[in-house]
C-alpha cells in the first residue's frame, strides 16, 4: 500500500522543528510500523538525506524504548501493544499518518522523534528501590510468605516498561500511572514496608519537580498503556502519599 507520512523533524533540542511530508510506496501489511520507518530511512539515506531518528531496541514490546505518537495516539491505533508490535495491516492504502514525538515538558526532544525520558530514571533514583545489600546473606526467599493476590497485583504493577505512553496520552502530561506502578509494587510486598512512606513522599516530590502535570483521572493513560496498568494503582499512590503526610 501507499501512504502519506507527516513526520516531526527537529535537528536537535534547540531547533524549532516542523512536520515534514513523505510519501512511501509499496508498504507490506506484514511489516511492523518500525520496519516501515526502516524502509523510509533506507530510501532517505540512499538519496543522501538525513534519516528520521526514532528510539527502538528490543522490537518485541518489552524494553520500553520505542515511543511515537501515531495519529494522535501513543503507540498507534491498536490496544495493549508498543509501536514495535504495531503492524501496517492496521492501516489502509492511501492513509495519511501523523508521527510525532511523545510531548511533555519533562520529555525534551533530542532529535526528530527521539525524546529524553531520563526524568523517569530520576524519579526512580528518588526511592524506586528497596535498600537491601547484595551480601549473599539475605534471608531465605521463602521465609516470608506473600499472599498470592498481593504478589499478583505487585507483579501486574511491575510489568510497567517505562515507555512514557501514559505521559504522552494524558492531557496534563502526568506521570502518575508510571510512578504509581512502582510505588504499588513495593507497597504490596512485605519487603517494601520499611521504606514505604519515605518512598511515596520522595518519588512524588521528584515527579513534581520534573514538571509533569497533575492527575485528573481521565483514564487515558491506562487506556493507552501497552501493559494495561490499572488506575487502581493511582488511587493507591494517592493513598500512600496522603498516608505518608497525615500518618
Amino acid at each position: 500500500m501507499d501512504l502519506k507520512l507527516k513526520i516531526w523533524r527537529q535537528k536537535n533540542s534547540s531547533d524549532q522543528g516542523q512536520i515534514v511530508d513523505y510519501d512511501i510506496k509499496g508498504v507490506s501489511p506484514d511489516m511492523s510500523f518500525l520496519e516501515m520507518l526502516d524502509v523510509l530511512n533506507t530510501e532517505l539515506i540512499e538519496k543522501g538525506d538525513d534519516p528520521v531518528a526514532f528510539d527502538h531496541d528490543c522490537r518485541e514490546g518489552i524494553c520500553g524504548m520505542c515511543s511515537l505518537q501515531i495519529n494522535g495516539k501513543p503507540h498507534g491505533p491498536d490496544a495493549a501493544i508498543t509501536t514495535c508490535q504495531l503492524h501496517m495491516r492496521k492501516f489502509n492504502d492511501g492513509d495519511t499518518i501523523y508521527i510525532e514525538p511523545f510531548r511533555s515538558r519533562a520529555f525534551p526532544v533530542v532529535k526528530d522523534l527521539v525524546v529524553d525520558r531520563s526524568a523517569f530514571d530520576r524519579i526512580q533514583h528518588a526511592g524506586g528501590y528497596i535498600s537491601v545489600n547484595t551480601s549473599g546473606n539475605t534471608q531465605d526467599a521463602n521465609a516470608i510468605p506473600v499472599n498470592k493476590d498481593n504478589a499478583d497485583h505487585a507483579f501486574d504493577a511491575a510489568t510497567c516498561i517505562g515507555c512514557g505512553a501514559c505521559v504522552a496520552a494524558c492531557k496534563n502530561a502526568s506521570a502518575m500511572l508510571f510512578v504509581s506502578a512502582k510505588v504499588s509494587q513495593y507497597a504490596l510486598l512485605p519487603q517494601g514496608q520499611v521504606e514505604r512512606k519515605k518512598r511515596a513522599e520522595q518519588m512524588v516530590a521528584q515527579m513534581d519537580a520534573e514538571g509533569f502535570g497533575a492527575c485528573t483521572n481521565t483514564g487515558a493513560c491506562s487506556a493507552e498503556c501497552p501493559k494495561e496498568i490499572s488506575l487502581t494503582n493511582i488511587a493507591r499512590l494517592n493513598r500512600e502519599f496522603l498516608n505518608s503526610k497525615f500518618n
Binding site: 505518537q69 494522535g72 510531548r103 516530590a205 483521572n217 481521565t218 483514564g219 488511587a235 494517592n238 496522603l242
Partner: protein, 221 residues
C-alpha cells in the same frame, strides 16, 4: 519545606484539597435541592426553611462562609491546576485523538466555567438582593417572602433556559468529578464499581431535580 507546603503544593496534595472541596460541594447540592424541593410541595414549608437558613446564626456565620470559601477555593485551585497542567505540555500535538477518555473528563475546566457563570447569575439573582435586604437596607424580617421571590424568578423563560443549560453542565461535571474526587482521595477498592454507579446516579438525579423544580414553577405560574 514546611509540612504544609510540601503537602499542599504537591500535585497529589492539591488534588486532594480539590477533592475535599468537591465532596463538600456535592453534599451541599443535596441540601440545597432538599430545600428547593419543599417549594413544589408547600409554599409555607419552603418559606419556613428559607427563613431558618437566612436567619440562623450557625448557618449564616459558619456554614455560609465555609461554603463560600469552598466554592472560591474549588474554582481558584481548578484554575491553578489547569494552568500547571497546560504548562506540562508546552508543544501541542499536531494531530490529536482524544478517544481514549471521555469528553467530559478532559474538559472539566469548560463545564466548570459554565457553572461559574451560572453562579454569578445566581448570586445576582438571590444572594445579592438577600444580603441587601438583610444587612444593608436592614428591612424588617418577613418570613413568607421567599416563595414569591422564587416563583417570580422562574417566570422569565430566558432564565429558565440558562438554568437548564447550567445544570446539564453541572451534571456532566459531576459525572466525572464525583467519582474522580474519590479516586483523588485514594478510594478505589472492590466496592468502586458500585460506588461509581451511585455517583453517576447522583450526578444525574441532583441536577435533574433542580431543573424539574424550575420547569414546574415556570409552567405552573
Amino acid at each position: 519545606m514546611s509540612w504544609f507546603s510540601s503537602t499542599f503544593s504537591s500535585s497529589i496534595g492539591r488534588k486532594f484539597a480539590m477533592a475535599l472541596s468537591a465532596l463538600f460541594l456535592v453534599f451541599f447540592l443535596l441540601m440545597h435541592l432538599t430545600t428547593n424541593m419543599l417549594s413544589v410541595f408547600s409554599a409555607n414549608a419552603f418559606n419556613e426553611a428559607s427563613h431558618f437558613m437566612g436567619t440562623n446564626p450557625v448557618v449564616q456565620f459558619l456554614l455560609q462562609p465555609v461554603l463560600i470559601a469552598a466554592v472560591v477555593f474549588h474554582f481558584v485551585m481548578g484554575f491553578i491546576l489547569e494552568a500547571k497542567n497546560k504548562a506540562a505540555r508546552p508543544v501541542k500535538y499536531a494531530k490529536k485523538d482524544t478517544g481514549n477518555a471521555t469528553w467530559i473528563s478532559q474538559n472539566m475546566i469548560y463545564s466548570g466555567l459554565v457553572i461559574l457563570a451560572f453562579l454569578v447569575l445566581h448570586f445576582i439573582d438571590f444572594w445579592v438582593p438577600e444580603m441587601n435586604y438583610k444587612y444593608i437596607e436592614q428591612l424588617p424580617a418577613v418570613t413568607d417572602r421567599y416563595y414569591g421571590e422564587l416563583v417570580h424568578k422562574f417566570q422569565n423563560p430566558v432564565r429558565v433556559v440558562a438554568y437548564v443549560i447550567a445544570f446539564v453542565l453541572l451534571s456532566l461535571h459531576l459525572l466525572h468529578g464525583f467519582q474522580s474526587s474519590l479516586q483523588s482521595s485514594g478510594i478505589n477498592n472492590k466496592f468502586t464499581p458500585g460506588i461509581k454507579k451511585f455517583t453517576e446516579i447522583y450526578a444525574i438525579a441532583i441536577p435533574l431535580g433542580f431543573v424539574l423544580i424550575a420547569i414546574y414553577h415556570f409552567i405552573n405560574h
